[in-house]
Amino acid sequence: MSARPLVALLIAAAFLAGCGGAPPSSSEVTGEVIVSAASSLTEAFADATRAFERQYPGTKVTLNFASSSTLATQINEGAPADVFASADEAQVKTVQPDRLATAPEVFARNRLVVAKPAGSTAIMVYGDLAKPGLRLVLAADVVPVGAYALQSIEAADRSGVFGADFRGRVLANVRSREANVRSALAKVELGEADGAIVYQTDVGASLKVEAIPIPDAYNVSATYLIVPLKGGTNPTAGLAFVAFIREAEGQTSLTKRGFTMPSR
């Protein structure tokens, strides 16, 4: 029998005990580690992965990006992931509890914006989302950014600022429910959609889209959670990766891409 499960358990115990327990020593952390992460983390996690592989030579991080809901389904169907980084809490909760190695923890926050094609005048302010005939694209209901977008639209509807049945009028403009935030953004980049509700971090990288801010009263604080998984192929490195994301260098990769830190 390998000593690995024991080591993992000890490390997990150290983490659960908190108090900034020492991360696993780099000699134990080696090999391939599979990280399933929300699409919106694509650039930030690519940066973090390079830094992680520098800190732990001999490791190879394989990143698997999709909507958090897709990733949760994959994990429940037995995908050999070692880490799950979700864009909302709901999708972490759908993962079978026996796959979670520790309790999920918040590691980043994000805000919503309306993305529109650069130079387009179809949408100038948030309230324009209800303009008749607008071509709007949202992520599917279960995709975190789709769920957050609905929360935002409902908050705006309740405020009464944008007239009667704002929600209904906006939803009537929705032309497609996309599988993840990046395919919603792609429809805007291509100019097919007049607008999409995405994260503010998604818009930074693209010259083809502009962001219209969503007022705080109708915005949401998207909460990202990360959790090491059991039943993958490399639980030790999984734990190390989660610790790395929550520490200085990992957090820098995220803030550089526009994510904010959870207030601890």
Binding site: T73, R135, A140, R177, A179, L190, A193
Partner: protein
């Protein structure tokens, strides 16, 4: 050579055939088993969302196949009978959608008929109409990937018809259209039907090009395969819904194939 007990070759062939048959049997058995085993899958079968996706799939594929027959039949006949200039290019162009990944087809359709596409932009400027996100876009995507299958089969069918027969009918005073209707098509009936059914099945299974070109909206562009993906990715129907939708697709495909067999048999009789 003399007859002997089954040789090693015979056994090997039988074994390979058995493995091959099981390989195709198990996934379908799995679907049926999951549906029987999971009461939520049976419940999902009655969900109105399943009916909506089924209706959209049936209507769009019916139109796609009709368009494929309408435009594809003359092209197939031309390719089979005439040395037309650029025929080889047309032939290769028609093969492309068959070998290309459907997602590439979706992107290509956007660059042509999207709001910023070669044709899409001037069309929207003139008429205000844009194709993406409409049921028509679903039909365009299906026709683009599926029609070439019909054209290939139809062309092979026409090529197998002896031109002498057509020539004789012409000398007896029959018009070209009459010869085509009464001689060529009946003689090529089998391949034409097989091509049409293949085309229909391919259109029914279309996913990648539709997702990219037509988007995904229940009731408007979400056909059965898109609904399977949406359910699998955690949509309201969930995994049981994905199983139920897959069963419905399987049933439709089976009905199509059976119809083909029956029609083909009648045609021969």
């Amino acid at each position: 050579m003399t007859q002997r007990r089954p040789s090693g070759t015979t056994l090997a062939v039988a074994l390979l055939a058995l493995v091959f048959a099981l390989f195709f049997l198990f996934p379908f058995a799995g679907l049926v088993w999951r549906a029987m085993d999971d009461p939520r899958a049976r419940e999902a079968l009655g969900d109105p969302a399943v009916g909506t996706a089924l209706r959209l799939s049936l209507v769009t594929t019916a139109v796609s196949v009709t368009l494929s027959l309408l435009f594809g039949t003359p092209v197939a006949y031309l390719l089979a009978r005439c040395r037309i200039p650029g025929g080889a290019v047309l032939d290769a162009l028609l093969d492309l959608p068959i070998v290309l990944p459907p997602t590439v087809a979706g992107v290509a359709l956007l660059t042509a008929f999207g709001r910023r596409g070669l044709l899409g932009e001037p069309i929207e400027a003139l008429t205000g109409f844009s194709l993406p996100f409409t049921a028509l876009a679903v039909i365009v995507a299906q026709t683009f990937v599926a029609a070439p299958l019909y054209v290939r089969a139809a062309r092979a069918g026409f090529e197998a018809v002896d031109p002498e027969l057509e020539a004789i009918a012409r000398t007896l005073g029959a018009s070209r259209a009459h010869v085509f209707r009464r001689i060529t098509v009946p003689l090529a009936r089998g391949p034409l039907l097989a091509g049409a059914v293949l085309c229909w099945a391919r259109a029914l299974g279309e996913l990648g090009a539709t997702l990219i070109f037509a988007g995904n909206l229940a009731g408007r562009t979400q056909t059965l395969p898109l609904a399977v993906v949406a359910a699998f990715e955690g949509g309201p129907l969930g995994l049981p819904g994905a199983v139920a939708l897959s069963l419905v697709l399987l049933a439709v495909a089976l009905v199509l194939l059976m119809t083909l067999r029956i029609v083909a048999k009648r045609g021969l009789a």
